[in-house]
């Protein structure tokens, strides 16, 4: 990429539903737009891999809408730092690269929330969304016995998808109670009518699979890999033999880039106004980083951010009603799937909390806050930089485990000192 190609009016970081919508809206509005993603795929967690297969439904529509514009796409390009105002530092297979922006849209999605329990580090214990993503990349499930234990609407979608991939789904354990679920179900026709048909489809494809609200995994067993999982409900505790335990308790907004740019956050999400602009002028944030709300919310927020970034506030304003509805759905979801006390507190003293540095709960507990624990145990200092254990200690101890030191992802040696303007990648 030459220098002329490294400055854009609008730069969109993250090519999931929110990023695709934002880039399409900005480019359709005549702005010179770049959308980049860390992965080789477009479509984020939900649509990845669809591009090669021709896509279907909304994935196909949105990919086509972006392709009809002259937005530039950069894959395998990870934003790792912001060396100067208006400049991003990204890492790509061709080497480090600097990208100039006038308006920035952050659509970097969310990650799964994992709550540690004895045995959760065994191979075979996988994230619920994580396994969906792996299946899209060809991970084999044919004939595997799977228990799904966690929380959230994704459990249905995941169960249906694993089954379609040939898995024997033994049980879906949802930690929240039936009462809360029922109230959530009753609010769906008003908040998200489309979700009803979707739910019915999942139900049909999960015929015969027990779905147990008020039930959770307390431990996983196995020598070198998972062999079984012990489950609990208000009435009993029992063990299921299985090859895979898919676990996850909803999602946590990715905030490393908003924090890097000094954007205000509150209650674990980025704060934006009704045009998706953050507390930093010229930086817009859309999709999961502003709050978990699924594909629908990500798309409408992405469009609003893209139109707003292009100065088309009136066009963005027309989407306000849709946005409000999506946010009401998010709030209903938060209430319905609030975590019960028992699942926050399943780790035994020996259970590892930090998987990168192998730090057990009993070694963390001596400290009063995240900073002290990090300093003394190296918890959160491994390659994941606290992205996995940080969420767990927030739920366990209420510690604020925000970390925003650049680089926001581990980088190749050289990335942080190499790029002299004009020299990057040129000799590779």
């Amino acid at each position: 990429m030459s220098d002329a190609n490294s400055r854009f009016e609008v730069v969109v970081v993250g090519a999931g539903p929110a990023g695709l919508a934002a880039a399409a809206a900005a480019a359709e509005s005549g702005r010179r737009t770049l959308v980049l993603d860390a992965t080789p795929w477009l479509g984020g967690q939900i649509w990845r891999g669809r591009e090669a297969k021709g896509g279907s439904g909304s994935a196909k529509r949105w990919l086509a809408r972006l392709q009809a514009t002259d937005a530039v796409v950069a894959r395998q390009t990870t934003v790792v730092a912001a060396p100067r105002p208006g400049v991003l530092l990204a890492e790509s297979p061709e080497g480090p690269r600097e990208i100039g922006w006038e308006t920035l849209i952050l659509t970097i999605g969310a990650r799964e929330l994992f709550l540690p329990f004895p045995g959760w580090t065994l191979p075979g214990v996988v994230g619920i969304g994580g396994l969906q993503v792996l299946v899209k990349g060809g991970w084999p499930l044919d004939g595997k016995r799977i228990v799904i234990a966690g929380s959230g609407p994704l459990l249905f979608a995941a169960g249906a998808e694993y089954r379609a991939a040939g898995a024997d789904v033994v049980l879906i354990a949802e930690q929240t109670d039936l009462g809360k679920l029922a109230r959530f179900g009753l609010s769906l026709p008003r908040l998200a009518p489309r979700k009803i048909t979707q739910a019915a489809q999942y139900q049909a494809s999960l015929l015969g699979v027990p779905y147990r609200p008020g039930c959770w995994a307390v431990s996983a067993q196995g020598a070198d890999r998972l062999e079984g999982v012990t489950l609990r409900s208000s009435r009993r505790t029992w063990t299921e033999r299985c090859d895979v335990l898919a676990t996850g308790f909803g999602f946590l907004p990715n905030l490393e880039l908003p924090r890097l740019f000094g954007c205000r956050t509150a209650n674990g999400a980025a704060v934006v106004d009704d045009r998706q602009e953050s507390s930093q002028a010229g930086i817009f944030i859309a999709g999961e980083p502003t709050g978990i709300g699924g594909e629908g919310r990500a798309l409408v927020e992405g469009l609003i951010a893209g139109f707003s970034a292009a100065g088309r506030l009136e066009r963005a304003g027309r989407l306000e009603k849709k946005r409000r509805r999506a946010m009401a759905f998010s709030r209903a979801m938060d209430r319905a799937f609030a975590l019960r006390e028992e699942v926050r507190n399943l780790a035994s003293p020996e259970t590892l909390i930090c998987r990168c540095e192998d730090v057990a709960r009993r070694d963390l507990e001596k400290f009063g806050d995240w900073r002290a624990a990090k300093l003394h145990t190296r918890c959160g200092m491994g390659p994941c930089q606290g992205r996995i254990c940080g969420g767990a200690v927030e739920k366990l101890y209420g510690w604020d485990a925000a970390s925003n030191r650049p680089p926001v992802f581990p980088v190749q040696i050289g990335t942080l000192r190499d790029p002299e303007p004009g020299s990057r990648g040129a000799s590779k």
Partner: protein
């Protein structure tokens, strides 16, 4: 889209459909231990999306590559167990 990619996993030849991620190729080859943790425990993929680093393997001599974020390529050499 039934193109086939040939690679080796711990020296053994493996053939997978193009578009397969390296993590999936490892699972297809029957590997469950992708790496050993600092205390020597076996580990495999958790997040599937590039944040946990539990799926790290050596690809073409480069250690600590996230196998869930890397597509299989012709002639690739993959080693587990760093």
């Amino acid at each position: 889209m039934a193109e086939i990619v040939s690679l080796t996993i711990n020296g053994r030849p493996v053939r997978v459909p193009s578009g397969t991620v390296v993590a999936a190729a490892l699972a297809l080859a029957g590997e469950s231990r992708f790496r050993r943790s600092v205390a020597g425990h076996p580990r495999g993929p958790l997040c599937g999306m590039g944040v946990c680093f539990e799926c790290s393997v050596t690809i073409d001599g480069r250690p600590h590559c996230r196998s869930c974020q890397t597509l299989c390529a012709e002639g690739m050499e993959v080693r587990t167990d760093e």
